[in-house]
């Protein structure tokens, strides 16, 4: 079997084994249940700027799914692979490292895709969420999801390679992730944030991920800080993170994995 196919199969088996694991599945389902309860209880309220809470919450959940998959889940999985010896084993196999990296990327994309689809389906069926009506809207949704994933995956891989264990990884990333989540307008609308916080958040890809997703779902940019969609800036910031990460991550990973 060729390397790419073997890596993709590895990723799918890995994702399947995570879904069959009671604890992991429970955490995933709990997140979706919280989302469902939020849109049922406060989905009808206005979020400001003429948009409803359902759309706002949905965008926040999808953005956060991508962000946390890359920054929290991925480093924990990589650290666990180091700790448990999966990386050591793969290094001894022919084509082991490329298969491993393809596998990790596949399981991450599968995780993000599955959860995004579930969130959209629940939002649409239970909360009356309006899905993008145009091809342009779907295209925006797709590229923002993809670029947002690319922006955080190398960062997460680096964190995972640097940290000694899955427990440390969880402890180190959870606080900054929480702060960034609050500051980036995925839980609280950005317009309610003080000016310095807005500037701070706009350095990171999470804010732009949310902004780009809102552009796909909402008819108007009235609730955005500038009052207009800034998709070019969104692409530039997420792209910069992706490129910088992809330049740095392989070197760091190779070093961490080789010793």
């Amino acid at each position: 079997m060729n390397t790419l196919a073997l890596g993709i199969r590895r990723g799918l088996i890995e994702q399947g084994s995570i879904l069959r694991d009671g604890k992991e599945l429970g955490a995933n389902v709990a997140g979706l249940v919280i989302y469902l309860m939020l849109i049922l209880w406060i989905g009808g309220n206005p979020a400001g700027g003429g948009i409803g809470m359902t759309a706002f919450i949905t965008v926040g959940f999808i953005a956060f799914t991508v962000f946390s998959a890359g920054i929290t889940t991925l480093p924990m999985l990589i650290a666990a692979d180091q700790e448990e010896g999966a990386l050591r084993r793969l290094r001894t196999l022919p084509r082991g490292l490329p298969v491993y990296l393809t596998g990790r990327a596949t399981s991450l994309v599968a995780h993000i895709a599955l959860n995004s689809v579930l969130i959209l389906a629940i939002g649409n069926l239970a909360g009356g969420l309006a899905l993008p009506s145009s091809l342009y809207g779907w295209a925006t949704l797709t590229w923002v999801l993809l670029l947002g994933t690319l922006a955080v995956v190398p960062v997460g891989a680096m964190i995972g390679a640097l940290l000694p264990s899955a427990k440390t990884a969880a402890a180190v990333v959870s606080l900054p992730t929480m702060l960034l989540m609050i500051a980036s307008g995925v839980m609280v609308p950005m317009t309610m944030m003080p000016e310095p916080v807005r500037w701070f958040a706009q350095v990171f890809p999470l804010y732009w991920q949310g902004h780009g997703l809102r552009a796909a779902f909402l008819p108007s940019a009235a609730a955005e800080p500038g009052g207009v969609w800034q998709l070019g800036t969104a692409a530039a910031v997420m792209g910069a993170w992706a490129v910088a990460g992809m330049v740095l991550a392989p070197r760091l990973l190779r070093r961490a994995i080789r010793t």
């Binding site: 079997m1 084994s17 448990e84 010896g85 999966a86 084993r89 290094r91 196999l93 022919p94 298969v99």
Partner: protein, 270 residues
Amino acid sequence: MSVSGLRMSYGERQVLRGVDLDMRRGETVALLGPNGAGKTTTIEILQGLRRRTAGEVRVLDEDPARGGDAWRARLGTVLQNCHDHPRWQVGTLLAHVAAHYPDPWETGELLEALGLGGRANSRVRDLSGGQRRRLDVALGMVGRPEVLFLDEPTTGFDPEARKEFHELVETLDMTILLTTHDLAEAERLADRVAVLVRGRIEVFGTSRELAAAVQAPCLVRWRDGAEQTDDPSELAWKLHQKYDGPVPDLEIRRPTLEESYLNLVERSAA
């Protein structure tokens, strides 16, 4: 497999200071030495996972530092202390690892042969310690390797599991290099034993040759004294003459191989 003048330094620290080792096809060699002697470093260099500082190394007619995937496919490794892929099913994991190789064993047969036939659908983390170890062996040999590396395979085993593992290794028909700090294990499994102390091979030979080479002095004890000597027979004869008859409470104790080995380790460390 041949190694000559192998050196390895991490910065200032010299871990290997000129290791020489050669192995014939089909032979089992034990690399024996105390912790920190450089056993794992040696194996990792032979596997091409670490770059050496100096020396000549050939494994299956290839320099490990340049060995590609085709070369790597001819090697197998049983790792020490692995708890990887805990959520995977046993059969799925073995099939996935097998798919990395061009001509692997049929995984069902291999599981059967290793006594794991009934556990193909179990999750890896639900295996007992001994079963987990047998799975590690299956993963190491599923690619039909010509050379199998076993790095401290029985560390942390209870005596029962250790015995079971030894019996399993004895049935394997391939070139095997194993590291251990347990002399009895080296003696039992290996055709030849190489003693690695402080980055150098001190002795390399069959366990009989090893015993002769590292022989520690015998202890001769009698009613009026005790003496350490390399020639107990000579001393007993002298005592016999001195007492002009039977030596009272004469006792001659030959060192065990274990003591001889420890003696060698201490001598080299001094």
